[in-house]
């Protein structure tokens, strides 16, 4: 696995309490990460859309109608594949049940401990990079594990999806029409039993 330098890793901290936010920022910066902050869902969404970071630390209650869970759901819908960790004082069953559906890379209960914060971040980043390198698995290896065979063309498109390429970029690269690419993507999703890009990446990471 190619080791990323921490100074190349951008982390967005979404936390409405500015004291806690500052503490998290300093703890992460002391480890060499590049840290960006957002104090409300609006700021967070703008940042995520404009310059997707490598990891997001997401508070759930943001003193706003929109919660951290909503932000996570928005990213899933828009296929913004950025791993994120919930950092929250909500540990009740109802919240845990709700967050489970959003497939977070981790869950840190407040009050956090510095060591635990850093290890959870490191694990999430390591898993994310493993997910990307797993795309280098060969088609033969993947096909062995699936009930339905994936074609060479579908595999090529899968690799492009995994790299985060848009449909338009894939059309251009493969010299195919939009509808054809969409058709292939639908087949890929069916064969891998997923419904979105983020699920696809998770699935590939687990194969």
């Amino acid at each position: 696995m190619a080791e990323l330098k921490k100074t190349d890793i951008n982390i967005l901290v979404v936390e409405d309490d500015t004291i806690i936010q500052l503490d998290i920022k300093e703890v992460l910066e002391s480890e060499g990460y590049v840290v960006h902050t957002a104090i409300n869902p609006g700021q967070a969404l703008v940042f995520i859309k404009d310059s997707p970071p490598d990891l997001i630390l997401l508070d759930i209650n943001l003193d706003d109608e929109i919660t951290g869970i909503d932000i996570a759901k928005f990213m899933m819908e828009k296929h913004i594949d950025v791993p994120y960790i919930y950092l929250t004082s909500y540990t009740d069953k109802k919240t845990l049940h709700e967050v489970k559906d959003t497939i977070p890379s981790g869950y840190i209960a407040k009050p956090y401990h510095e060591g635990q914060l850093l290890s959870t971040v490191a694990i999430a980043l390591a898993n994310a990079s493993r997910k990307i390198t797993s795309i280098h698995l060969s088609l033969d290896q993947i096909s062995e594990k699936l009930s339905r065979e994936i074609t060479e063309k579908e595999w090529a498109i899968t690799a492009m999806l995994a790299k985060g390429m848009s449909n338009a970029q894939i059309c251009q690269k493969m010299n195919l029409s939009v509808n054809t690419v969409k058709f292939h993507i639908k087949n890929i999703y069916d064969k891998l039993e997923v419904h979105s890009r983020s699920e696809l990446l998770l699935r590939l990471g687990n194969l």
Partner: protein, 197 residues
């Protein structure tokens, strides 16, 4: 109720963050240490609250689980490689009420911190033994022993940790006994404690 629990934890987080921020902004080593120790005390209380509200109706915690988590947290706080310290925990299965657990947790926090800080001074091969068991008289006996250099003088020092332990012991109607036995030993016999339902 859930909302109150949430606020308690958020406020503990805020206090912890304030101490953590300040510990990084002071230059004096003694001041830094004092703030880190302050944060560690808040964290040991926070650990109780974190565990407590996971189960809805709980008024107390299994003390063994708590002590395991607390000692791991302390090793992390003071940057000690767990491989360098042989930590032996011998805790009976007892569920203690929060009113007992908070002062007891703060005492354990002080004793383990002391052992880590003074007993070994970076040397490898340190061992800490902690036991917590009911006695024949139905008291609760906490015993923390290390294999370090022992107390310089058996008359308890006037350090802040000692003062804190004395005050917390008062709350628990506990006797505190310091002695040397191939290292420092502290025995705390708690007479006033409340089990959790």
């Amino acid at each position: 109720m859930q909302e109150i629990h949430h606020r308690v934890k958020n406020n503990l987080q805020l206090v912890s963050s304030l101490l953590s921020l300040q510990s990084r902004s002071v230059e004096d080593e003694a001041a830094t240490r004092a703030l880190v120790e302050g944060q560690s005390r808040v964290q040991s209380m926070a650990l109780i609250h974190k565990n407590l509200y996971n189960d809805n109706a709980a008024s107390g915690l299994e003390v063994k689980d708590y002590v395991v988590q607390l000692t791991q947290q302390l090793l992390q706080t003071y940057g000690i490689n767990p491989e360098n310290v042989d930590l032996e925990l011998d805790v009976d299965p007892i569920c203690l009420d929060v009113s007992t657990l908070v002062p007891l947790a703060l005492i354990i926090n002080e004793l383990i911190t002391n052992a880590l800080k003074y007993a070994f001074e970076q040397h490898e091969g340190g061992a800490i033994h902690l036991s917590l068991k009911p006695t024949a008289e139905q008291h609760l006996m906490l015993r923390v022993k290390d294999n370090g250099k022992g107390f310089d003088q058996l008359e308890a020092s006037d350090g802040f940790g000692t003062k804190l332990i004395k005050a917390l012991a008062l709350k628990l109607d506990a006797t505190v006994n310091y002695f040397n036995d191939n290292g420092a030993v502290v025995e705390i016999c708690v007479k006033n404690y409340k089990l959790s339902q």
